[in-house]
Amino acid sequence: MGRICPLLGPKASAFCMVMSIWGVIFLGLLGVFFHIQAVTLFPDLGFGEGEGGKEGGHSVEEAEGGQAWPSNELVESRYSDKAIQCWIAAGMYGVTLVLVFWQNKYNTQQIF
């Protein structure tokens, strides 16, 4: 059985492998931190974007009916949204990893 879709050479696949392993770990952890509602990630939730010109500001205003301060529930739901978003991305990197492994199987030159 030959290579079905010979896209990646040995170097490219090694690079992608490293990136996707890192992606799985990093995004997985980031998701965990969003899940436990780490304060340091609060600026990334998109609240308090200043004059409300940004996307996050809009959504806040829509949800709160023009009120500047988001409610606790909104913050919590935003946290959990972002956590799931990160985990999905991590899963996508997991898929990438599998794909890269599959690609790498057909490389004659072994990198690892």
């Binding site: 600026p43 999905i88 991305a89």
Partner: protein
């Protein structure tokens, strides 16, 4: 005299031989298991010497234990090296040098540097080795052409053991230098024969190929000209026919017949029948054809008829590229004169002429013959090539070994060229630098080599006193080598000088990490280094010739430590990819009520004042994570902290360097330097700079945000952050009688007696400068005068003259005061040089100015620690905010995809900009801090390297580059 010394020395070597045995036996007692396994092997060789391999390996093992035990000096300072004289019997010289080369711990001195390399003793041998090497390279080239890979050496052990076998294989060749039976090379015979054979076969092949090409050309000529000839024949036949027809049918005369016409016909007939046309055939390159044609036309004035046909390549010719653009030509002409001319033209155009028979019959025969001959030749050629291939494949298995051997032998002869002959020409004298710890091992090796070469007279090694500057030898292992290289790149340490490498092993990664503090980036770096280290063996054997990769790979342990330290400092700065982690609870709380916050506009910035929101005890370790969220004054806080840390670290390191200089002076026993260099320098540094550091620390400890009474002054709290000034009169205390803080209270004196103390400190520091500047040169000058007088007055002097090196030395016999005078020579060898007061003064003033100004500029220079760490933190924050944070502004599944893509960009930029680029810049700044700011305090770095004569290095170079081994040789032989 010679005899007595040698006897004495041989006794000594016997004795030391015994003492050498002792540690090994001790070792055996200590490790019974090792003994049991080794005993049968030794018992098997009863009555005989233990095998060479055995001894060598044991010696190596012992030297390892030597290295690990008692060489405490080897880490902190360069190892003790001594000059030793070697007296070698000519018969044993080669073997001895070979063994020493395998050992790789002695450095041979050139005893006849004035002799040009063509006049040395073993030039012929070296030339012969060159010749052999050239042959081997020829073989290699042939192999490359055939696409044969070289077989790897069968392990390092194999390569290691090759040489002694050669020595046994060596022939005795008596025509070499004066009455010396010198070994010459026999092992080379197999490949010499091989080379000859190969050359012959190549020559044959070339000849065959040439033949082949010619035949092919001939074939083409025959084929092409056939057409031309046939055309001609037809024409002729038609013409003759036509003539016949006119004659046979007189009743049908041509429409117009004139006398001229008749004559013309007649003359043509004559030309065809009587004046026979001649022709030349050949092959010419196609692009030359137009010029050829033109010239032919001009020279022969149109009397030659050229006909050409391109050779359309049918793939039958072996070198098709050549014949592809060629054309067959045929020239008809008349007369001898023209023939000569045409031949000349052909020659000048490099056309190949081939004879071509006249009649079709002959031509046919010839073409058949040519075809058969081509077939035969093809067969022969194929066979030749096959044979050659077989020979080369067989040779390729040994080629690397042969090359290594030849290089080793050549290297040994080069070393022998450094030797001297004694007066009686009966033995070779060599001088070697050798680490004192290895003397016994060297002696033992010499003894063994002498025994093995069957020489009756023992080789002798004895230490000689010298006043030459000794080479610096730092033993390194793969961990310390990277750091030692960093130091050596600046300058090799003087002999006996403190080696900064052990200190740099800690301070280098640490200062790097101060500039590179981020847990995430540190982990990346650590991972790369771990990958290099764990895959060390594989990566080494993979032999990647990428320079950048090699740089990183050879510094893998440095990178490892840098990564680990970056994780630590990142933890202290509390940064992971520009985010902070709260392992403990922050010691700041939100004092505002949520309802009051909701009432105010949400973009209003609020302060957390320490009175209300600080819990009273600081964050347990590192920077409080709350600062990461403080948007407006995060930088203000971090800047002040990092700047002060940078100053503390910098002055700490400079002070440490200065203290090291004290140990240097102490080691070299120069009181003068301690009293009038080190002490004033230290005073100067502590009066200004260490005082500054103390102020910083005291301020950190005693002044907090609370109003308090500190050092007798009442301190109004955070509203008055004290600064530090010197040499400016100002009021003391912070508050006036009413308890209000004075304007500019932060500039005021903050402890009683500060004004006086600071005045004293400044005065002391200023006083130190003239002491540094003048005292040492003055004392040196006085000492020099005294010594000169004492040499004049004392009578009992002897002069020791070294004949070989043309050096004379004055030595006092038994006069104590002279010996006393001579002692400081070890540190200042000014007694031998001309003492020039102005020179010394200028030198000293340069040093002083450098130190005084250096203290200021170097302290400022350490601020780069702050600047770079700030830049790094800012850059990583920007990367997060500008790139990755955008991923969280998008909702839903689209958000996941955006996260996926943006993470890739974020990770890529993190690696290439933050880790590699920033890492490199931080590395360079650290390098500078160590070379300039740290090492300038104590390190002179004017030594010479100890480069042991080591045959194993050749191995490596032979492995690395077979093709440009020219360069390697030169570098080895230098």
């Amino acid at each position: 005299m010679d005899l007595t010394t040698s006897v004495l020395v041989s006794d000594e070597s016997e004795a030391s031989g015994k003492s050498v045995v002792a540690p090994s036996s001790r070792r055996k007692v200590r490790s019974p298991i090792g003994t049991r396994t080794r005993l049968p092997a030794e018992a098997a060789g009863t009555g005989k010497l233990p095998t060479r391999r055995d001894v060598a390996s044991r010696a190596r093992r012992r030297s390892m234990t030597h290295r690990s035990v008692g060489r405490e000096r080897g880490v902190w300072r360069s190892e003790e090296v001594c000059l030793a004289q070697l007296l070698l019997q000519p018969d044993a010289a080669f073997a001895c040098v070979a063994q020493l080369g395998e050992l790789g711990i002695v450095q041979f001195r050139d005893l006849n540097p004035s002799v040009s390399s063509f006049q040395r003793k073993y030039v012929n041998e070296v030339r012969r080795c060159d010749e052999l090497e050239r042959k081997l390279r020829y073989l290699r080239r042939e192999m490359k052409n055939e696409g044969i890979e070289l077989a790897e050496l069968a392990g390092s052990e194999e390569a290691h053991m090759t040489l002694p076998d050669d020595v046994i294989d060596l022939d005795v060749f008596s025509t070499s230098p004066p009455r010396l039976a010198l070994p010459n090379i026999r092992i080379t015979e197999p490949f010499e024969k091989l080379e000859k054979e190969l050359r012959e076969s190549n020559r044959n092949e070339e000849k065959l190929k040439k033949n082949h090409a010619e035949l092919i050309e001939l074939k083409h000529i025959l084929r092409k000209t056939q057409g031309l000839f046939e055309e001609m024949d037809q024409r002729r036949a038609r013409f003759v026919e036509g003539r016949n027809s006119t004659s046979s049918h007189p009743d049908e005369p041509p429409l117009i017949t004139t006398v001229e016409d008749d004559e013309a016909i007649h003359s043509r007939e004559i030309s065809l029948h009587i004046l026979k046309l001649r022709f030349v055939t050949g092959v010419i390159q196609r692009e030359r054809l137009p010029a050829f044609e033109k010239l032919l036309w001009r020279v022969c004035r149109g009397n030659a008829f050229l006909k050409t046909a391109d050779i359309d390549d049918d793939g039958s010719s072996p070198n098709s590229s050549e014949s592809a653009d060629r054309a067959v030509f045929i020239i008809f002409f008349q007369g001898e004169q023209l023939h000569i001319k045409i031949r000349k033209i052909c020659e000048s155009f490099r056309a190949h002429l081939h004879p071509c028979p006249e009649t079709p019959q002959e031509r046919r025969e010839m073409s058949i013959e040519v075809a058969t001959r081509i077939e035969d030749l093809n067969k022969v050629l194929a066979q030749t090539q096959q044979h050659k291939h077989r020979v080369l494949v067989a040779a390729s298995k040994n080629l690397r070994m042969w090359l290594t051997k030849v290089l080793k032998i050549k290297f040994i002869y080069h070393t022998l060229n450094l030797f001297n002959f004694d007066v009686t020409q009966r033995c070779l004298i060599a001088e070697v630098w050798c680490p004192e710890a290895e003397l016994d091992l060297v002696k033992q090796t010499l003894k063994r080599a002498t025994n093995e070469s069957g020489c009756q007279v023992p080789s002798i090694l004895h230490k000689i006193e010298t006043n030459k500057t000794l080479p610096t030898f730092h033993r390194t292992n793969k961990f310390t080598r990277g750091f030692q290289n960093i130091v050596d790149a600046y300058g090799i340490a003087n002999y006996g000088e403190i080696n900064p490498a052990p200190y740099i092993m800690i301070s280098f990664p640490f200062l790097f990490a101060v500039m590179f503090g981020d847990i995430g980036h540190g982990i990346l770096m650590l991972a790369v280094a771990l990958f290099f280290i764990l895959k060390e063996k594989q990566l080494e054997t993979a032999n990647i010739n990428n320079e950048i990769f090699q740089t990183f790979f050879s510094g893998r342990y440095v990178i490892l430590l840098m990564g680990a330290f970056s994780i630590y400092t990142g933890f202290m700065y509390n940064e992971v990819f520009a985010k902070s982690i709260a392992i403990f609870d922050s010691s700041w709380v939100n004092p505002y009520k949520i309802s009051s916050l909701r009432a105010s506009p949400h973009d209003q910035i609020r302060q957390l004042s320490p009175e209300h929101s600080y819990l009273g005890s600081p964050y347990p370790i590192g920077v409080d994570p709350v600062w990461n969220l403080a948007e407006t004054n995060k930088l203000i806080f971090l800047n002040s902290m990092k700047m002060k840390m940078a100053v503390l670290l910098g002055i700490g390191q400079m002070t440490f360097g200065l203290i090291l200089s004290f140990y240097n002076h102490k080691y070299f026993k120069s009181d003068l330097d301690i009293k009038f260099m080190f002490i004033p320098q230290m005073l100067f540094l502590s009066c200004i700079f260490i005082y500054l550091c103390l102020q910083i620390i005291i301020k950190w400890i005693f002044f907090s945000w609370k109003a308090d009474s500190v050092f007798g002054f009442s301190y109004p709290g955070a509203s008055c952050l004290i600064n530090m000034l010197m040499m400016k009169s100002r009021p003391s205390g912070f508050v006036n009688e009413n308890g209000e803080s004075i304007s500019q209270c932060h500039l005021n004196y903050w402890y009683p007696g500060q004004e006086l103390l600071e005045k004293i400190l400044v005065l002391v520091a200023i006083c130190c400068i003239p002491v540094m500047l003048f005292v040492k040169p003055f004392l040196q000058f006085r000492r020099h005068h005294k010594m000169a007088r004492s040499i004049h007055t004392s009578r009992n002097l002897t002069v020791r003259i070294n004949m070989s090196t043309d050096e004379a030395e004055i030595a006092g016999t038994g006069s104590e005061e002279l010996a006393k005078v001579h002692t400081p020579q070890t540190s200042h060898s000014h007694s031998q040089k001309e003492f020039d007061p102005s020179d010394v003064l200028v030198n000293q003033s340069i040093q002083t100015i450098e130190f005084v100004l250096g203290c200021i500029s170097h302290t400022a220079s350490y601020l780069r620690l702050w600047a770079l760490s700030l830049a790094h933190a800012q850059l990583s924050e920007v990367l997060w905010k500008m790139v990755f944070a955008h991923a969280f502004r998008v909702e839903g599944y689209m958000g996941a995809i955006v996260t996926y893509v943006l993470f890739f960009i974020f990770a890529f930029l993190s690696v290439f900009i933050l880790v590699i680029m920033e890492g490199l810049s931080a590395f360079l700044h650290t390098l500078r801090l160590h070379w300039v700011e740290f090492q300038s305090k104590f390190y002179s770095g004017n030594g010479s390297v100890f480069t042991p004569f080591c045959l194993n290095q050749i191995n490596l170079s032979a492995d690395l580059s077979m093709d440009n081994s020219h360069l390697d040789e030169d570098s080895i032989l230098q």
